[in-house]
Amino acid sequence: MDDFQYHAPSSVDGVLSALRGADDGKVLAGGMSLLPVMKLAMAAPSDLVSLRNVPGLSDIEDHGHCLKIGACCTHAQVAASSVVRERIPALAAMAGRIGDPQVRNRGTIGGSVAHNDPAADYPAACVGLGATIITDRRKISSDDFFGSMFETPLEDDELVTAVCFPIVDGAAYAKFENPASKYAVAGVMVARDSDGVRVAVTGAGAGVFRVAEMEAALADDFSADAVAGISVSSDGLLSDNVAGAEYRAHLVTVMAKRAVEACG
């Protein structure tokens, strides 16, 4: 790992100014994605700006119509949170299956959404549940936030501070995981509320995507059978040593069915 300057400011403003003062600064939250790529010399930021001393980023607040989850909440914290388990159980269950215990105890929601790994779980949770990403300067809807792999509209000096998840009538996440990495090969979040049904897929494509055909079918008939015959095209899906594109496309349908079933 190459040398870097380490900063641990105690305010959001301090974080932003440290980023602005750096040649190639990166925000360090849990480090579960950033540190491995630095270790492999695939990233060599000049400065790491840690969030560890910034107060108030690890709170989970119930705002009635939504839950606001601070950017530094770890996956383990979300999984164990009584308010998340009660209000959006699908979100708690999803967080409890990210990676392994070490990752869940270090990795954060803010880091995951800002990184936008195409096989991460949070992008599907955010898009599926219709979450809003809150930064130091604006609010961005999930549909606008998650681009193709690793792409987001975040500015270089912009910090995700929280994610707001609306309370929905029902939701569930079904994941087929890579046996080595535990990332999603195909992860599907299905959520329904008065506005309709959302189906968001992670792991299978170059970034999280919604399946409009499934959403429409489920709006008419919220049952596993309604999506059993709907498949996504394998064109453009990822392919690796664990799963080819065709298999991934198949798994999207199976995981969608299982998520619908789990919605009850």
Binding site: L40, F176, N178, P179, A180, S181, Y183, D240, N241, V242, A243, G244, Y247, H250, L251, V254
Partner: protein, 791 residues
């Protein structure tokens, strides 16, 4: 039949807690990277990023000028030292010796696999060495790669070595081809199979490391290294590579964190670090990181085979013919040539009476990391092929899978196989019966039906197998091409106050030798377990040895220690007779006491030891001291055997395989420490299950390793494994005094075919008849799709 090693003190057969636990479980082990010598420098090894290329210029000038750099060396700097040797000369069918190109320590003129060492950079710090290495400018003139067996054997394939036409190292055979073919031609039925035994990465938890040191005042070199066999490294490094006499070369293999075969070979890194330390007259340390380990530790398996089994109307096997291509990688590692021949072809009788067997093996060079022993080493490959074939025979004839095995079992011992081995003892019915009962084999249909009610396809699979451990004897392996003996050495030093130091030429890197060997000595010498310590891993402390591999340590190394104890007792008897004023023939030894037969007059081993070192009242002509060494060269291999049963549930929608039950019934010979034996079985089973379901080392067509990290190379985790149902039925080895056989490789040999047979059984209602390892979800799903498309 039964061993007579016991004096009844109860140490043998007891699950004593390991002496090693205190340091290993509290993080106080002392591994090579924990050792730091005064003035130590750090090395970074720059490795080829391409699989096959002519090396144009290698410009090291910028690296040499970088901060902290003490030296940069490349292949031509070491041109005058010997090549890294291989330990076994194989002859082809026509009698010609194998193609054995010189293996330079660092690349000269050409690179032949990703990860091959091109340069060593030595600096004051690890980071300085790494950063300087990035400044070396290498002109790789890339060549097409032969990155797989298929590519290497294709017409017009790129040649890894100009002298190896068709990339063939050897074309070896064992058995009687004409007899096997005639038996198959005349058989009532035949079944054939094409199987791949995929390449695996060994993945010892401690990456390899080495520290070279040179003392200019004595001319002595010391190499600290992560080795399973320090004396073997001294022999190969000293005599073949650097030309150093034994008394000027000390090899220390301290605590070593797992080997699984990948720490048997003498590696180029060991030669480079030792040589560099001599050039600089300073200690130089290198420690592999995990990414480096993936492209520089030897890898395992990698066979493609086709085989035919002939059998009569009653399902009795009459002939077997096997043709295998074995990937050796780009260079011949220490046991690379022997693993797919003398540890593979001679296993094809299995536990069966097949009268005519023939096996031919092409050893093939490819532009991949060298292949060498990996837990089981040849025997898993043979067992997998045979046990898949037997299941196919059962399916073809409609004879029950258990029944067809039982009909073919060997029951008369000793049994001479048609492929060189002679089994001394075994009871295959007993382990089969035990496994069937313990796994509730007969109750399977109910479990299948219950799984079906949950939408799962449940299958059960079985394998009945033998293995050959403790490869021996030296004269035989020598006649087959081994370049070393395969005996072992044990020394027992009884100190003046009766405590005991035991010196073994084997090496413990997770096997618990320090405990097991102490149990043997405590019991046979009649001393307290706490009074015995075992020393291993230092050529300056131990007389000699061949090391630990092939499940040999207890059967060969343990017997050497046992024999040394017998020598101690024999000398002690003379001393006791003198003290007791009795005739030596009247002295009996039991429970640590020398007693005049028929009397209560006795001297303890402690009293005898003190007398041996304070010989005031001492037998005339007898040397003082109480220390003996034994070299033990076994008469034969040992032959553990067993039955493994696996049950799986397949999710037909996703293809996901869940392993729900594993039952082992094993005959590993006499058990010294049941806890350690079961631990070895558990580890081996995890390893074998990893091969069956998860692990697959893959290269692309250019010879780049696709699975170079744990993000895509799937190691078995605890959550992938069911609780293991382990059972023992013990017969004793007839030709060593302890009656022991071996256990370290049992799981990785026996369980893969049981798991795959279970997967095929689960899918058989859909018409699936074959499944390659690893049975990944995608493969299973594809097999289901293909079978359904045929309907």
């Amino acid at each position: 039949m039964s061993g007579n090693g016991s004096n009844g003190t109860g140490f043998i057969g007891a699950s004593l807690k390991r002496k090693e636990d205190a340091r290993f479980l509290t993080g106080r082990g002392r591994y090579t990277d924990d050792i730091n010598l005064p003035g130590q420098l750090y090395a970074h090894l720059l490795r080829s990023t391409v699989a096959h290329a002519n090396l144009g210029s290698v410009d090291t000038s910028a690296a040499e000028a970088a901060p902290g750099v003490q030296a940069v060396f490349t292949g031509p700097d070491m041109e005058d030292v010997g090549g890294i040797p291989t330990g076994w000369l194989i002859h082809s069918k026509d009698g010609s010796p194998m193609v054995e190109p010189k293996h330079p320590a660092m690349a000269i003129g050409k690179v032949r696999h990703v990860g091959e060492i091109v340069a060593i950079v030595v600096a004051e710090t690890r980071d300085q060495a790494r950063e300087a290495a990035a400044l070396i400018d290498i002109d790789y003139q890339e060549l097409p790669a032969a990155a797989s067996l298929e590519a290497a054997r294709a017409d017009g394939a790129p040649l890894v070595w100009d002298e190896a036409a068709g990339n063939l190292c050897y074309d070896w055979e064992v058995g009687d081809r004409a007899a096997a073919e005639a038996a198959i031609d005349g058989a009532a039925h035949t079944v054939s199979i094409d199987v791949v035994n995929q390449r695996l990465v060994p993945n010892a938890i401690e990456p390899r490391a080495a520290i070279g040191n040179f003392d200019p005042t004595t001319g002595e070199y010391t190499l600290y290294t992560t080795s399973q066999n320090p004396h073997l490294i001294r022999l190969l490094l000293g005599a073949f590579v650097l030309g150093l006499p034994e008394h000027k070369l000390r090899i220390v293999a301290p605590d070593v964190g797992g080997g699984f075969g990948s720490k048997i070979p003498h590696y180029a890194e060991e030669a480079i670090l030792t040589w560099t330390a001599g050039r600089l007259a300073r200690p130089v340390k290198w420690t592999s990181d995990r990414s480096e380990a993936f492209v520089s530790d030897t890898q395992g398996r990698d066979h493609i085979s086709t085989a035919t089994l002939g059998f009569d109307e009653d399902g009795r096997f009459v002939g077997l013919k096997v043709s295998t291509q074995a990937n050796l990688g780009a260079y011949l590692s220490t046991f690379a040539t022997c693993v797919p021949t003398y540890l593979y072809g001679i296993l094809f009788a299995g536990p069966y009476t097949t009268p005519a067997i023939y096996c031919e093996v092409e050893g093939v060079f490819t532009n991949t990391v060298p292949v060498d022993a990996l837990r089981g080493a040849g025997r898993p490959e043979a067992t997998y092929l045979l046990e898949r074939l037997v299941d196919k025979a059962a399916a073809a004839t409609g004879i029950d899978r258990v029944d067809i095995r039982r009909r073919n079992f060997i029951r008369e011992f000793p049994y001479q196989t048609p492929v060189a081995l002679q089994y001394d003892q075994g009871d295959y019915d007993a382990t089969l019966d035990l496994a069937l009962e313990a796994s509730d084999w007969d109750g399977f249909e109910a479990r299948r039906n219950e799984a079906a009610s949950r939408g799962k396809l449940r299958g059960i699979g079985i394998s009945t197998f033998i293995e050959a451990c403790g490869i021996a004897p030296s004269a035989v392996v020598g006649s087959l091409g081994a370049r070393a003996g395969l005996y072992e050495v044990g020394s027992v030093r009884v100190h003046p106050t009766g405590s005991v130091s035991v010196f073994t030429g084997t090496h413990s890197h997770g096997q618990g030798h320090e405990t097991t060997f102490a149990q043997i000595v405590a019991e046979t010498l009649g001393v307290d377990f706490e009074a015995v310590d075992v020393v291993h891993g230092d050529t300056n402390a131990i007389p000699f040895g061949m090391g630990t591999y092939g499940s040999r340590s207890l059967a060969v190394g343990g017997t050497a220690i046992y024999n040394a104890v017998q020598k101690v007792i024999a000398k002690g008897r003379k001393i006791a007779a003198h003290l007791l004023e009795a005739s030596e023939e009247d002295i009996e030894f039991a429970d640590g006491n020398f007693t005049v037969a028929g009397t209560d007059r006795s001297k303890s081993i402690g009293e005898v030891a003190l007398t041996a070192y304070v010989p005031h009242n001492y037998p005339e002509g007898l040397e003082p001291g109480l220390e003996e060494t034994a070299f033990y060269d076994p008469l034969n291999f040992t032959f553990p055997a067993g039955t493994h049963v696996a049950e799986v549930e397949v999710d037909p929608e996703t293809g996901e395989v869940e392993l729900v039950a594993v039952t082992g019934a094993d005959d590993v010979g006499r058990i010294i420490n049941p806890m350690i034996v079961n631990g070895q079985l558990h580890g081996g089973l995890a390893h074998g299950i990893g091969q069956a379901l998860l692990e697959h080392c893959e290269y692309d067509d250019e010879g780049q390793l696709v699975t170079g990290s744990y993000m895509n190379y799937t190691m078995p985790r605890a959550g992938d494994l069911p609780n293991f149902n382990i059972n023992h039925n013990t017969t004793h080895c007839t030709h060593n005094p302890l009656g022991v056989k071996g256990v370290g490789e049992v799981g990785s040999i026996g369980v893969p075919p049981a798991v795959i047979n279970a997967v095929v059984d689960a899918l058989s209602p859909l018409g699936v008849t074959h499944m390659e390892m690893p049975a990944t979800s995608e493969r299973v799903w594809q097999a289901i799709q293909a079978a359904q498309a045929q309907d």
